[in-house]
């Protein structure tokens, strides 16, 4: 009907993801960097008059490091999880709709939702700090970085949400153990860390901004490993849904 994605499935998924409670939680999530920025403006502004150093630390330390993977876990695992658990997925499965299209539609919604939330999380602090031209490359770099992060994390978590009833728990364990605890400290894991991919993209785009370091992995690694993550995760998800059978009562 709609090419690669099905708009009806996408609309349904959006409404599923943005129930009132999740919408409020998302807004609080997206506003938290702004709150930190306001505290910074009220307290330590004189030590960093341009706010550039603060913004860099906020984006890399809070947004890319913590909020981005958490948002992707929340939206990615919920894109399918609830429907498979409560059986409402049957209304989508008994339609003339290829299952790969179902997966891609839900994946795209998870990516857009995660990206939108994170975009506001970086936009609002930037605006609060005066949206200076000096800090614009940093904002642009992190916009690209969270775009890449949302695409890769969502692929992993949408598939995880299909395959496990405890996807949210496993997703949080992955984020805390692999992304937050291990990858910064274990060099061998950096090539498998989406966070490092994000920081490499940021480093490449905002290399002129003082204090921004080149990423721990090369751009080639980002594109190669990113493509493998994306294709493998979505391929696994599509394959899983194509073989999915409703063995319990309908």
């Amino acid at each position: 009907m709609n090419g690669v994605i099905n708009l009806t499935v996408a609309e349904l998924t959006f409404r599923q993801l943005f129930t009132r409670k999740r919408l409020i939680a998302s807004m609080l999530f997206a506003l938290s960097p702004l709150l930190i920025t306001l505290v910074f403006l009220a307290t330590a502004h004189t030590q960093d008059p341009t706010g550039l150093q603060f913004l860099r630390e906020l984006y890399s330390g809070i947004v890319a490091f913590v909020l981005l993977p958490l948002a992707a876990v929340i939206f990615g695992t919920a894109a399918f999880g609830g429907e498979i658990d409560d059986g409402t997925i049957v209304y989508l499965l008994v339609k003339d709709l290829p299952r790969w299209q179902l997966v891609l539609s839900k994946y795209l919604v998870a990516v857009i939702s995660t990206f939108a939330m994170m975009f506001f999380a970086i936009l609002l602090p930037w605006l609060a700090l005066g949206a200076s031209l000096e800090s614009a490359p940093l904002f642009q770099a992190f916009t690209a970085g969270i775009g890449l992060g949302a695409a890769l994390y969502s692929a992993i978590f949408v598939t995880l949400g299909m395959m496990s009833k405890r996807a949210l728990v496993f997703g949080l364990i992955y984020v805390v153990v692999v992304e937050i605890a291990l990858s910064p400290n274990v060099p061998g894991l950096k090539s498998f860390s989406v966070r490092e991919f994000v920081m490499t993209v940021v480093g490449k785009i905002a290399s002129a901004v003082p204090g921004v370091k080149a990423g721990a992995v090369t751009p080639n690694t980002v594109w190669t490993m990113g493509a493998i993550f994306l294709v493998a995760s979505l391929g696994l998800g599509i394959r899983w849904l194509q073989r999915y059978e409703m063995a319990e009562r309908l």
Partner: protein, 317 residues
């Protein structure tokens, strides 16, 4: 078309909408459905069986949500499993109550219409909701619906594209008697227009009134198929029971006890309770014997020809 014990129902003239050819399904060592061969044509068919008999597995296979471990399940001559193309012709009402609670009734049915690629989904949704008598509540969230209303919304969603095949798993759950009657009329109307309706239900009274034929499953096998009265006739190993009232019950009892087809006659409750080994022989002998003895027969009622009796006999075999 009726058959019992051999577990087969032959294909009638014309192509069957639903066909199971030696279809089996097992989970590890557990055989849920064992070599079922049956074909269904337009009309209403009831799918009966005790819990664990394999009814849901059969419905899952026909709906393409489970593939058979062996054999074939065909819907309109196409393999049902892994074939989304069949869903333009199939509507499914699942047993599970869950419907996306954040949608209104109208949005839920329209979603089904859109996913069926209908040209005018709004109009189709309105029409389907009117058919199930849910227009008045169509703008309320499904999460706030009663169980019966959710069932009707699910049925509206399943028939919004006017499918040629409608599969319903316990569709009358939660409906009040008026709604059940309305739904039965709706299903009869669909069947009369050529729709093949397959209903799994544990409430035998409903199917007694509704189904043109039944499929009875016991322990994963098809124990019988056809109209339940025809099935009952073929169950020659079970005596047929009748109650009878006449102008002289005692004298008629004495007459009938000498009849070879009569196994026993009891005087009870102001009439006779008769067990006959052969229905045909008995019903032919009764008027002859009564006339010869000068007795008038006022009432003769079979007491074990209901769907429930037939079902119980088959399950207890």
């Amino acid at each position: 078309m009726t058959a019992i014990e051999d577990g087969r129902s032959k294909v009638e003239n014309g192509h069957a909408r639903i066909e199971l050819r030696d279809a089996s399904r097992w989970y590890g060592n557990v055989v849920a459905v064992n070599a079922i061969t049956v074909s269904l044509q337009p009309g209403i068919t009831g799918l009966l069986g005790p819990n664990g008999a394999g009814k849901s597995t059969v419905l899952h296979m026909i709906a393409g949500l489970l593939s058979p471990s062996a054999g074939q399940v065909l819907v309109d001559r196409q393999n049902a499993a892994g074939n989304p193309g069949i869903y333009a012709k199939v509507g499914l009402v699942p047993e599970r109550e869950a419907v996306q609670p954040f949608l209104t009734g109208f949005e839920f049915v329209r979603m089904n219409a859109k996913l069926q690629h209908l040209a005018n989904p709004d109009e189709a949704a309105r029409k389907a909701l009117a058919l199930v008598d849910l227009t008045g509540a169509q703008d309320r969230k499904v999460g706030g619906y009663s169980k019966g209303m959710r069932q009707r919304a699910k049925i509206a969603g399943a028939l919004v594209h006017e499918p040629a095949i409608l599969l319903l798993d316990e569709p009358f759950n939660g409906m009040d008697p008026r709604q059940r009657l309305h739904m039965m009329e709706l299903l009869r109307a669909m069947a009369s227009k050529g729709c093949t309706v397959l209903i799994s239900s544990h409430i035998l009274e409903e199917l007694n009134d509704l189904a043109d034929s039944v499929l009875v499953m016991v322990a994963g096998r098809l124990a019988a198929s056809g109209h339940f009265r025809e099935i009952r006739k073929l169950m020659t190993n079970r005596p047929h029971t009748f109650t009878l009232k006449s102008s002289d019950d005692r004298k008629l009892a004495a007459e009938l006890i000498g009849e070879p087809s009569v196994q026993s006659v009891d005087l009870a409750n102001g009439g006779l309770a008769i067990r006959a080994s052969d229905r045909g022989l008995f019903t032919r002998a009764l008027p002859r014997r009564a006339r010869a003895a000068g007795i008038s027969v006022h009432e003769l009622l079979p007491t074990d020809e209901s769907l429930e009796s037939v079902f119980n006999y088959l399950v207890q075999r």
